[in-house]
């Protein structure tokens, strides 16, 4: 104990980034060891696709038109799974209190969680896309689509992280997240679906652009708002 414990007396930004890093790292480290969450999200994603497929008895042409819809609904459902879990971890042994006790800016906690959630989401999507292309032999891997997926996921995780940290502090935590998240995320989903199907049907860019813009706009708005109000969500 008698050895001097020194704090880094460095710039605010430096320590801010270190905190963000530490939080994201911890989630990823835990996941890297067990790989539970990722595999769960993956299997679930595939299940959703299959269930859709059989529930709707999609015939080939019908399917072509709904591909992007199915994809995004799948991502949405798989996403909530991930968000729920990554917040449940924080609540487990009172860790959330541990985080809140730390002398770091609340937004660092937010961005840390956003990063780890986003990574999980993107990994899942990166695997689902090719699988889907194979299942329904339509090539989904195009630069445009990847861009859309990225934008969509950012918006989704941006709001999702905020709402999941709200949901986890309520009594009905295990059921509340999808209910809070799905309706507000619709704008992002719609734009994403439209843009994706635009790329899939190789529409001219000027028909896709408005949707991309909408997507970008909502991403920015959501992230900005979430970032601003996150303090109020975690402050007790």
């Amino acid at each position: 104990m008698n050895k001097a414990i020194t704090r880094r007396s460095s710039s605010g930004l430096g320590s801010f980034l270190r905190a963000v890093g530490a939080i994201a790292w911890k989630d990823l480290a835990a996941e890297l060891r067990s790989r539970e969450l990722l595999s769960a999200m993956l299997v679930f994603a595939l299940l959703v696709i299959l269930i859709f497929n059989f529930a709707l008895e999609l015939d080939v042409k019908a399917r072509a038109s709904v591909t992007s819809g199915v994809l995004w609904v799948t991502f949405a459902f798989a996403g909530t799974l991930g968000l729920n879990r990554s917040m449940a971890v924080e609540k487990d042994r009172g860790c959330l209190d541990g985080l809140l006790l730390a002398p770091v800016d609340r937004s660092a906690i937010y961005f840390g969680k956003v990063i780890s959630n986003l990574v999980f989401m993107l990994i899942v999507e990166a695997i689902v896309l090719p699988v889907y292309s194979i299942l329904y032999n339509t090539n989904l891997i195009s630069l445009g689509l990847i861009g859309v997926v990225l934008l969509g996921s950012i918006g989704y995780v941006g709001v999702g992280t905020l709402l999941s940290s709200m949901a986890v502090q309520t009594r009905t935590r295990d059921v509340l997240l999808p209910i809070l998240l799905f309706p507000v995320i619709v704008p992002v989903l719609v734009a994403a679906v439209k843009a994706s199907s635009g790329f899939l049907q190789a529409l001219p860019m000027d028909e896709i652009l408005p949707w991309l813009n909408l997507l970008v706009v909502y991403d920015i708005i959501f992230i900005a708002v979430a970032f601003m109000v996150f303090d109020y969500v975690v402050e007790e």
Partner: protein, 232 residues
């Protein structure tokens, strides 16, 4: 160091803290006593900025709560009823993580020291999930003192500790007290409290029913003082 005036805390219609006044000088070691449900944990959670007062002023190290929570947090080390540890991380990783959150330097050596102190070196690479209750409590204590805080808020820190661990904690607390740190500790083990504390406050029905220092006590013993305080 700690300044609390007319603190009131309500949960819905139930008032738990009723105009509580509390004042701690730097370097004091306050043993916070009181029956089950008196409000000790509620009070400590408010001091730790984990819960908002319904009314009243709270300030620590000159910073008001909840307004300046950020400043207050650097000075605090907290042991609560829950260990505040990640079950899916190892003992080592947990301390490393919190070390980064507190932005400590030469972290590795510090973590090793702490693990050694709480006697978990041989388990450093095991997941906290698999720890026994006492082992989790040990690590929780390690986590709380990792950054050598100015003010320590310990809620029943001896829970689940065995003989060695209790002795270890005794040393830790004596040591920090000797280095002029401020400690507020709740406990139901009066004997231990009497050994360690420099002051004894009895919390009852949401207010400090009685308070006396080590010296004033020395005549009588703590148990009788405690009983009188509650009887009053």
């Amino acid at each position: 160091m700690i300044e609390v005036k007319k603190l009131i805390k309500r949960f819905g219609l139930k008032t738990v803290l009723r105009g509580l006044d509390f004042h701690v000088e730097p370097g004091e070691f306050v043993a916070l006593l009181g029956p089950n449900g008196a409000g000790k944990t509620t009070f400590l959670r408010i001091l730790a900025s984990l819960s908002r007062p319904s009314l009243g002023q709270v300030s620590i190290a000159g910073h008001a709560l909840p307004a300046q929570a950020a400043e207050v947090r650097r000075t605090l080390g907290v042991v609560s009823h829950l260990p505040l540890l990640y079950g899916d991380l190892t003992a080592e990783e947990n301390l490393h993580f919190y070390g980064r959150m507190y932005d400590l330097q030469n972290l590795d050596s510090r973590v090793t020291d702490v693990l050694h102190m709480v006697g978990l070196e041989h388990r450093r690479r095991d997941l906290v999930r698999t720890f026994s209750r006492g082992m989790q409590q040990r690590l929780a204590i390690g986590r709380a003192v990792l950054h050598d805080p100015e003010v320590m808020l310990f809620d029943e820190p001896y829970t689940g500790l065995d003989q060695d661990a209790s002795a270890m904690l005794d040393d830790v607390l004596r040591n920090v007290a000797a280095r002029g740190r401020t400690v507020v500790m709740t406990s139901h083990d009066l004997a231990r409290a009497e050994e360690l504390g420099s002051r004894f406050d009895v919390l009852s029905r949401g207010a400090i029913a009685a308070s006396c220092t080590q010296k004033e006590l020395s005549a009588s013993n703590l148990l009788t003082f405690y009983k009188q305080a509650l009887a009053a």
